[in-house]
């Protein structure tokens, strides 16, 4: 049987398991709130106050301030909720993919197009 002590290693990949879900709850709850336009506006008006309201820890707060997806994942974020955070800045999945893989968006898109050929 799988055990939390023998996690499957998949390069460049973190499974959003119980450990991540526990660590990231406050961050994910805040990002889930961004389904509402009113909440997105409230975040933009006062980011500090909004993060404090959801009880983000220092690592999560810094990752939000840095708009850094890999840091957000390391702080327990789940990509589906993080995508709602990215949406506030008009970023799409290709922006997010490019940032995580350390490429420009154009290079990231070119790589995907190449896969399609």
């Amino acid at each position: 049987m799988p055990s939390s002590k023998q996690k499957r290693e998949i390069p460049g990949t973190t499974l959003f398991d119980g450990e991540q879900a526990r660590k990231g709850y406050a961050l994910n709850k805040m990002c889930f709130s961004f389904n509402s336009a009113e909440n997105r506006a409230e975040f933009v008006r006062d980011e500090d106050a909004y993060c404090a309201k959801y009880g983000l820890n220092a690592e999560q707060r810094a990752a939000i301030a840095n708009r850094n997806v890999l840091q957000l994942l390391a702080a327990g974020g789940n990509v589906y909720y993080l995508a709602k955070f990215a949406g506030i800045f008009g970023l799409d999945m290709q922006d997010i993919g490019a940032q995580q893989s350390g490429m420009s968006k154009e290079a990231f898109k070119a790589k995907l197009n190449e896969t399609g050929r």
Binding site: L15, I88, D92, S101
Partner: protein
Amino acid sequence: MATIVGSITTSHVPAIGGAIAKKRQQEPYWKPFFDGFSAAREWLAKVKPDVAVVIYNDHGLNFFLDKMPTFAVGAALEYRNADEGWGIPALPPHRGDLDLSWHLIESLVAEEFDITTCQEMLIDHAFALPMELLWPGPAPCPVRTVPVCINTVQFPLPTAARCFKLGLAIGRAIESWDSDARVVMVGTGGLSHQLDGQRAGFINREFDQLFMEKLIGDPLWVTRYSIPDLVELTGTQGVELLMWLTARGALPGDVNKVHSNYHVPISNTATGLMVLESI
């Protein structure tokens, strides 16, 4: 008794919603994807289903981590799409079918699937976009619907074997439903893609195409893989192929492939479409 006419399985990338809203279907980037749907719509016009049972995964519109059901079945008169936070216009609501919902719920629980029932349920792009592709507006969608949501947000996910068994049980439930309705299975998700981590952008054409081929005559093939195996082979979101497998499981007896399409990429995703008909 109700009849299962077949299944349509497809990808459900949010960017498709943007392309529909901006009428980009015939632009070179989008055309190979959208054109794949003509044959699916022709088949639907021929088999004329009354109800669609839609197997999909929610991405944080209806469900949050506070309560995360592994399997959830809708039992509402109407299912609404809503703001998901990333700027895709909301799609029209869908009519429910309460008789089939409750028949399904009773049958599944009797078969020891401990599902969550939802008398209120928002449907996200994973439900609404494929329906828009199969029955484009502005005419209202002609079929009633029953949503079946499978968790792919928080691991552990149900195994491929479990999802196939859920599909089998859904198939038996529909076939025992005292109705003359014609039912189509819809499964949405995949194929290979990964949105998160340094491996973002990962795609596996060979696996996708083998999966599509095996799904026709040997759907149990994929159950040899564990969920972490499937993530490694298809990406963190490629594991949504579970929706295809569940929809396929519901088809009684042998099936014919009516149509398939496979196109890479749409956004970060390898997109697939397959229409299977019950023989």
